[in-house]
């Protein structure tokens, strides 16, 4: 019996309207060998909203983001405890296929990392490995259009993705993720390697994408979090064991204007971090 398959089909068809959150962490702990990087995180991400994760360096922002699509376990000896519910289904369940999880929860990285292939191939590859049967040209067009890149690259789809500027490369990476038709897009400091104009374009794009996707973005940039996000989660280090903990979570306006925690206030006003 192929249990994995049963559950992955469940992932596809689960449309429980009672589940109001796109993704929900419950008692999430992540360990690297014996070091606890993340401690008891409970976080509910709203659908079709931009959620920003902010906090000082080393507080586990990237770890929590990568916990949402099981990327932690790929390169480091990471161990995860607790539950991450995606449409009400625990993605860390034994019978869940992590590859299938990443297909539904896409990711954009800090440094633009297009494949050293043509622009067209960059967008088409992900869909192709998932056995996409439709018209590939249409899919590439739609993905590039949604990523606000089509007009700039429509005449040079055969050129290498690496020939684009940094901002274009990052939008290509977003288009590549969109083409696999995920529900959630995780962004790990997507604009930190870009100039201010390219950054603005990415931010506008994030706002537009909320029509179809749920976006979670890690950022170092306070203004960026304030500009683009609906909700903000502030993480910090636990004084005793250096583990990352969630300090405060709520609507961005409230967090920035009237933070409940003194730590959040200090960080936002630039007094530490």
């Amino acid at each position: 019996m192929d249990n994995g398959r049963i559950h992955t089909t469940k992932l596809d068809s689960w449309q429980d309207t009672n589940v109001t959150y796109a993704i929900e962490a419950q008692g999430l702990n992540v360990y690297y060998d014996n070091f606890r990087a993340l401690k008891n995180v409970d976080l509910k991400i709203e659908r079709h909203k931009v959620t920003a994760i902010i906090g000082p360096s080393g507080c586990g922002k990237s770890t929590v983001l990568r916990a949402f699509n099981r990327m932690n376990e790929l390169f480091r000896s990471a161990r995860t405890e607790g539950r991450v519910l995606f449409n009400g289904l625990d993605i860390y369940h034994d019978q869940i296929d992590p590859v299938e999880v990443r297909r539904h929860i896409g990711m954009v990285f800090q440094k633009p990392n297009p494949f050293p292939k043509s622009i067209y191939e960059n967008v088409a590859w992900g869909a192709r490995i998932h056995g996409y049967r439709g018209n590939m040209d249409d899919l590439v067009y739609q993905a590039l259009t949604q990523a606000a890149l089509w007009d700039e690259v429509k005449d040079k789809l055969g050129q290498s993705g690496l020939s684009l500027s940094g901002g274009q490369q990052q939008r290509l990476c977003i288009a590549r993720t969109i083409a696999t038709q995920p529900e959630i897009i995780l962004m790990d400091e997507p604009a930190s390697a870009l100039d201010p104009i390219a950054t603005l374009r990415i931010e506008e794009l994030m706002r537009e994408l909320t029509n179809n996707y749920t976006i979670i973005v890690v950022t170092h940039n306070m203004q960026q979090a304030g500009r683009v996000s609906d909700n903000t989660a502030f993480f910090s280090l636990d004084e005793t064991d250096r583990a990352g903990v969630l300090i405060e979570y709520g609507p961005t306006l409230r967090i920035f204007s009237n933070p409940a925690s003194k730590m959040t206030e200090d960080y936002i006003t630039g007094r530490f971090g």
Binding site: M71, V99, V101, M107, N113, F115, I129, L162
Partner: protein, 417 residues
């Protein structure tokens, strides 16, 4: 400090320039030494491979024909007649039995006359340097010491040398047998070692469990052993090849299992044994080089693929391997170049020192270029030294052209990206 030139200037500047110049000269000297050694090697080989030779004939070709004609001008029938008169009846009949004279080309009959009647022999040969610097002395010596000899400039490396089979006569001997033997063994070594080596590298870099401490320790042991294997002297691989391929797997390596030879006379000292032995020899090198090439592929590419929901195999096949391929190919060609020059393991595995038949299948007996060179240099006659030098040049050219192929392949793969 020299105050008037400001705080940035100083007396230490001249000293620093001196030290910099010293180091630059030390490193330049190292390069120069390397180039000199390489130049000496090439001069030494070329010195033996080219030069004047004095050739004496057992029978002067002019004596075979009438005064006003030359041997080269005669037609087919006249040549056959000359051959018949000048060799024994038994030999003539034997040649006719091998192939009737009517079927032989005119040039072929002429060759037979030279081979069996004229019998040219190299009386003395001079090196290239002598030929260039002491030309008049050589002419004088040749006319006094070998009055009947003709003096000519000989390039021991020519087309005939590459296309002729091995012969006990140095003038006629060629390297075709050895060249084909080298190509066969190398081809088998590549076919055997490349997929296994790259596969092992992919496993160790992409699939091996680095998370659990116990698995990590095992991987470390495997890694160390592969590195050590790369440094094992090649003759040990020869002994391994002798024990495993020649002895234990004899039915397989002799071809007896396929009915190609009689199992009672089966002999495992074949091309396939030699090729597999060389394959074992280069396997650790290919693994290490491939691992390094795979490790050099940035992790961001793997993350990008995984982030799109690719499996590990899809990631490796579509992104890691294409990007690692130039490095893998370069490493493989370097290993193959090493295998190409190996002599010791093949001696142990049982290379033939004297065969004239071309290898035609993996179960043929074989010899290779380095074996041939080694064998020629051990002959007492001076002439074999000349053809050994010519064979060395042929081997070097083969290695250079293989490296050329590697560069072309690498550029091809790099351009695809």
């Amino acid at each position: 400090m020299s105050g008037d030139r400001g705080p940035m200037a100083g007396t230490r500047l001249t000293r620093r320039y001196k030290v910099a110049a010293l180091w630059r000269n030390v490193f330049r000297a190292s390069t120069v030494v390397g180039i000199i050694v390489l130049g000496l090697l090439l001069i030494n080989i070329a010195n033996s491979a080219f030069g004047y030779v004095a050739v004496t004939n057992r029978v002067d070709p002019g004596d075979l024909v009438a005064e006003d004609r030359a041997l080269e001008d005669l037609d087919h029938a006249e040549l056959v007649a000359i051959l018949e008169v000048n060799i024994s009846k038994g030999l003539f009949r034997k040649l006719a039995n091998e192939k009737p004279f009517a079927e032989r080309e005119r040039a072929e009959v002429l060759g037979l006359i030279y081979e069996n009647v004229v019998k040219p022999e190299v009386a003395k040969q001079w090196t290239l340097l002598e030929s260039i610097t002491k030309r008049s002395e050589i002419v004088a010596e040749a006319t006094t010491a070998y009055p009947s000899a003709t003096l000519r400039f000989e390039s021991w490396l020519d087309v005939a040398f590459i296309t002729s089979p091995q012969s006990s006569d140095a003038v006629k001997a060629g390297i075709r047998t050895a060249l084909l033997g080298s190509l066969w063994t190398i081809a088998i070594a590549i076919v055997f070692a490349f997929p296994i080596g790259v596969g092992a590298a992919i496993y160790l870099e992409e699939y091996a469990d680095h998370a659990r401490p116990a698995a990590r320790a095992i991987n470390q042991v495997i890694q160390t052993n592969i590195s050590n294997l790369a440094g094992v002297p090649s003759i040990i691989y020869g002994i391994l090849g002798l024990a495993v391929f020649v002895r234990v797997l004899e039915p397989l390596t002799s071809g007896a299992i396929f009915g190609l030879t009689d199992s009672t006379t089966a002999n495992g000292r074949t091309i396939i044994s030699a090729g597999l032995t060389l394959g074992l020899l280069i396997l650790p090198l290919i693994i290490i080089n491939s691992q390094e090439a795979i490790r050099a592929v940035p992790n961001s590419l793997r993350e990008a693929a995984f982030g799109l929901g690719a499996t590990r195999w899809q990631t490796v096949w579509s992104h890691v391997l294409p990007n690692a391929m130039p490095g893998i190919l370069t490493g493989t060609i370097l290993s193959v170049s090493r295998a190409m020059g190996e002599t010791a393991p093949l001696v142990v595995v049982g290379a033939s020192t004297y065969i004239t038949a071309d290898p035609s299948e993996p179960f043929s007996k074989f010899t290779t270029l380095p074996i041939q060179i080694y064998q020629w240099t051990t002959r007492p006659q001076d002439v074999f030294r000349n053809i050994a030098a010519a064979a060395i040049i042929a081997l070097l050219m083969l290695l250079l052209s293989m490296n050329g192929v590697a560069i072309v392949l690498r550029n091809r793969f790099s351009k695809r990206t």
